[in-house]
Structure formats: structure tokens, C-alpha cells
């Protein structure tokens, strides 16, 4: 499995600066645009989609992890970002724990040459398997660079 390849270091973050859920999502969208995973024209729509998803129910899945995951018009391939927040953010997660690891995925709203919905579901399943690995969560908080963060995902690709 090479789902880790969807996560480009330039779109990830080892030290999110935000101090709220909303600011964190805005920062992640900015990183996705900066990393050229998401067109700049999609900025407002992407953020609104992520915020709307949170209003529907928290994407905090427990164990300090959140998986914000939305469909977005106007993109042809999934835009993915792995981000770490050192002190943790209040995310209204089911277990009440602050979120340290954000795995954000924005995907096209329809199938296309670069987007296979079935493969996408498999990637989300893989993300869940990775996220529940204690080693992944522990090491993600210790890495120093974005490249190391993606390398960690690569190492976890066999889970």
C-alpha cells in the first residue's frame, strides 16, 4: 500500500500554531495550498466545508486524533495533510481528549482519472488503522521535520 504518497511533506506540519479548532483548520488549508495540494481558489470553500463538517459532529475520533474529511467541488485529486499540534487542541472528541494529530483529507466530489472512490475508502480505512497504532501516535509527536512525518507514515504503510 502506498497511501502515504498522498501526503506531501510541504502540505504537512510538525508544529501547528493555531490555538483553536477553527484556526487549526484554516492553518491546514493554508498548508495544503502552500504545498500545492489544493488550488488557492478553493481556500474559502475548503475551510467552510471543513467547518460545516465539524458542526455536523466532531471529527475527533479519540486517542488525540482528528480526521477532518470532506468532499470538495473543483478538485481532481485528494488533498491530504498530516499535522501535529504539540500541546493539543480542544476538539469535542468523544473521549474528551485534546487533539494532537490531525489527518485532513479533502477529496473530489465525483470519480475521475485521479480519484477512485473505492480506493479512497481503502485509504480512509488505512488512516484509521495507522491512527490507532500507539507507536504512530507517540512518534508523530516527536518528529522534527515534515519529511520525517511523512516517512513515519511510510513506515506505517504495512499496518
Amino acid at each position: 500500500m502506498n497511501f502515504w504518497k498522498s501526503f506531501k511533506p510541504k502540505s504537512c506540519a510538525v508544529h501547528l500554531q493555531a490555538e483553536s479548532k477553527e484556526a487549526a483548520l484554516a492553518e491546514v488549508v493554508g498548508n495544503l495550498i502552500g504545498g500545492e495540494a489544493l488550488p488557492a481558489r478553493c481556500k474559502d470553500e475548503a475551510l467552510e466545508a471543513l467547518l460545516a463538517r465539524e458542526r455536523l459532529g466532531s471529527t475527533g475520533v479519540g486517542m488525540g486524533v482528528a480526521i477532518p474529511h470532506v468532499k470538495l467541488k473543483g478538485i481532481e485529486r485528494a488533498a491530504c495533510s498530516l499535522s501535529v499540534h504539540a500541546t493539543g487542541l480542544e476538539w469535542q472528541a468523544l473521549d474528551g481528549a485534546p487533539v494532537h494529530i490531525l489527518c485532513t483529507v479533502l477529496r473530489p466530489d465525483k470519480p475521475g482519472e485521479s480519484h477512485d472512490p473505492q480506493r479512497h475508502l481503502e485509504m480512509m480505512q488505512w488512516i484509521a488503522r495507522v491512527a490507532r497504532e500507539p507507536d504512530f501516535r507517540r512518534f508523530a509527536l516527536k518528529v522534527k521535520t515534515k519529511t520525517e512525518l511523512v516517512e513515519l507514515l511510510r513506515e506505517m504503510s504495512a499496518v
Binding site: G57, V61, G62, I67, H69, A128, R129, R132
Partner: protein, 91 residues
């Protein structure tokens, strides 16, 4: 210890994605009983969203709930109602 089991077919079009997983886990956490959920030979902790997400159960898949504890039957009934209602999604 009381035990209750029930199998329910997923009717919502998108299957067991993150939000239904959240709905199952949050419902289960309101009960004292332990919950195991299985699908196509895999069994996970029904109180963990991440565990449930790894089932990746599509629409029409059958989820088997097995609760053990004093309120097992009430938990399984609540879950069956949740799944049969399509988690509030359009069916």
C-alpha cells in the same frame, strides 16, 4: 452476565464511514455493557471510532453487534434502531 446479539444490514448509501462510526461509538458509550462489532470476519471494539472505521463496511454489509453487560439488550436495540434508520442519512 447478560449478553445480547443482533445482526443488522447497513442501509445508508455511504456505509460505515466516519460519522456512522461516531454515532455507534457514542451510543455505545452511553451504556455500561461492552460492545463488539463484527463484519465479514473482522471483529472490533464497538466503543472506538477508529476501530469501527477499520471495518470499512459498505452499504448492504451486515454488522453483527454483541453486547455483554447489564444493559446489553437495551444497547443492541438502540444500535439496531440507529442502523436501520440509516444514521439519519438519506436512504
Amino acid at each position: 452476565m447478560a449478553e445480547s446479539q443482533r445482526s443488522v444490514r447497513l442501509s445508508n448509501p455511504t456505509g460505515l464511514h466516519a460519522r456512522p462510526c461516531h454515532a455507534i461509538a457514542s451510543t455505545a458509550q452511553a451504556y455500561r455493557s461492552d460492545l463488539r462489532v463484527s463484519c465479514e470476519g473482522r471483529e472490533v471494539n464497538g466503543k472506538s471510532i477508529l476501530d469501527l472505521m477499520t471495518l470499512c463496511a459498505p452499504c448492504d454489509a451486515v454488522l453483527a453487534f454483541r453486547a455483554v453487560g447489564e444493559d446489553a439488550e437495551a444497547l443492541v436495540s438502540a444500535l439496531a434502531e440507529l442502523v436501520e434508520g440509516g444514521f439519519g442519512e438519506h436512504i
